[in-house]
């Protein structure tokens, strides 16, 4: 129970942060022609920021189901990697149904907090961690959908930046203290910019809502950093095997 409360406390700031972002989603969805109930259900059943924004654009445009599946897959495939990472941080005898419940809320922010835990992540802790963000994400969407049209247009237009600035707030602090995380973040951002601006390769950011560009940038940057660490381990091993102490 203690772990659950600790999870709630840790997750609550995410819940607060989700409200302006999901509010924006609600606003946009209604503007596109979804009704507030549909917008709210999409949020509750997806818990995926970028994937949802892309999804409603496709549904509104009358895209075929296969395009919807592939785009959703590409944009959300990072959750696959996060889920795989999390599978290494739970007890190996944790039953399937508990894993299946945890899987529902592997979001960027919830995962980032779980990944920063020093010890294994317990089911009650993760349950607490995901409880308020789910509530906040759903509530914010509902509020945004209902309030659509009441807000001054200038303010509506500025809400789009909230999501990205939450991402910034997640990646900057660890990048400040860890040099390799900083390298990872910078390399990934640079690659993503290349895919957007350099002629010839910029088709990647134009198709599928930019999903491919994100995946390739992230995988390459993470692979570079993991390889740097591997190289350092290799050198260290060689130094100790040689019996030379530097």
């Amino acid at each position: 129970m203690n772990e659950f409360i600790r999870g709630i406390k840790k997750g609550f700031p995410i819940c607060l942060g989700y409200i302006p972002v999901s509010f924006t989603f609600g606003l946009i969805a209604v503007k596109m022609g979804f009704n507030p109930l549909e917008a709210t259900i999409i949020s509750l059943t997806n818990m995926a920021s970028a994937g949802q924004f892309a999804g409603i654009r496709l549904i509104e445009g009358g895209a075929p189901y296969i395009e919807l599946i592939i785009t959703t897959f590409v944009i959300n495939v990072r959750y696959f990697l996060m889920s795989l990472s999390l599978s290494q941080k739970v007890a190996s005898d944790l039953p399937f149904y508990k894993r299946a419940i945890m899987a529902f809320c592997i979001t960027d922010e919830v995962f980032a907090l779980a990944a920063m835990e020093k010890e294994d992540v317990s089911f009650p802790f993760f349950g607490g961690l995901m409880a308020t963000p789910i509530f906040g994400w759903t509530l914010g969407t509902c509020l945004g959908a209902v309030a659509s049209g009441l807000l001054p247009p200038m303010l509506q237009g500025c809400f789009g930046i909230a999501l990205y600035c939450m991402f910034i707030a997640i990646i900057i602090p660890p990048a400040r203290t860890g040099r390799k995380v900083a390298i990872a973040v910078i390399v990934s951002a640079l690659l993503s910019c290349i895919f957007k601006y350099v002629p010839g390769v910029n088709i990647l950011s134009k198709s599928g809502g930019g999903g491919w560009s994100i995946i390739i940038s992230a995988v390459v940057a993470a692979a570079i950093c993991a390889s740097i660490k591997e190289l350092k381990r290799f050198r260290k091993r060689k130094a100790t095997e040689g019996g030379v102490h530097v």
Binding site: P13, A50, D108, G157, C165, A175
Partner: protein, 114 residues
């Protein structure tokens, strides 16, 4: 806009696709990974994904209605504010809300200055 039935099916497809991506790894991988390279790779992935999603798209994220193009200036200034606040370890909510506020102020001031 398609009929209600189509929207319902599309919503179901979206939710299922998203959930399957999430449940397969954690549901079925029980072995602890031994390979240190893969472990490091998985450690860096979330930071990299968020970074690639944010840059450069954040610069195109403010589009006041009425405008046809995103407003680069307000987004750039708000992004800088967000980076400074994040550097000072302010929480998620404060960083996000201050950025929205900064973007709004810039949007209100720009027509006056120019």
């Amino acid at each position: 806009m398609c009929s209600f039935e189509n929207i319902a099916i599309a919503m179901l497809i979206m939710a299922l696709t998203t959930y399957l991506i999430r449940v397969i790894p954690i549901g079925f991988v029980r072995r602890k990974l031994e390979n240190l390279w893969i472990k490091d790779f998985l450690y860096y992935i979330p930071f990299c994904v968020l970074s690639a999603m944010t840059f450069p798209d954040v610069l195109y994220s403010t589009t006041p209605s009425g405008a046809t193009e995103p407003h680069f200036v307000s987004a750039a200034i708000a992004t800088m504010a967000a980076i400074v606040l994040a550097w000072k370890n302010r929480g998620l909510v404060r960083v996000a809300l201050v950025a929205v506020l900064v973007a709004l102020i810039v949007e209100l001031l720009l027509p006056i200055v120019f």
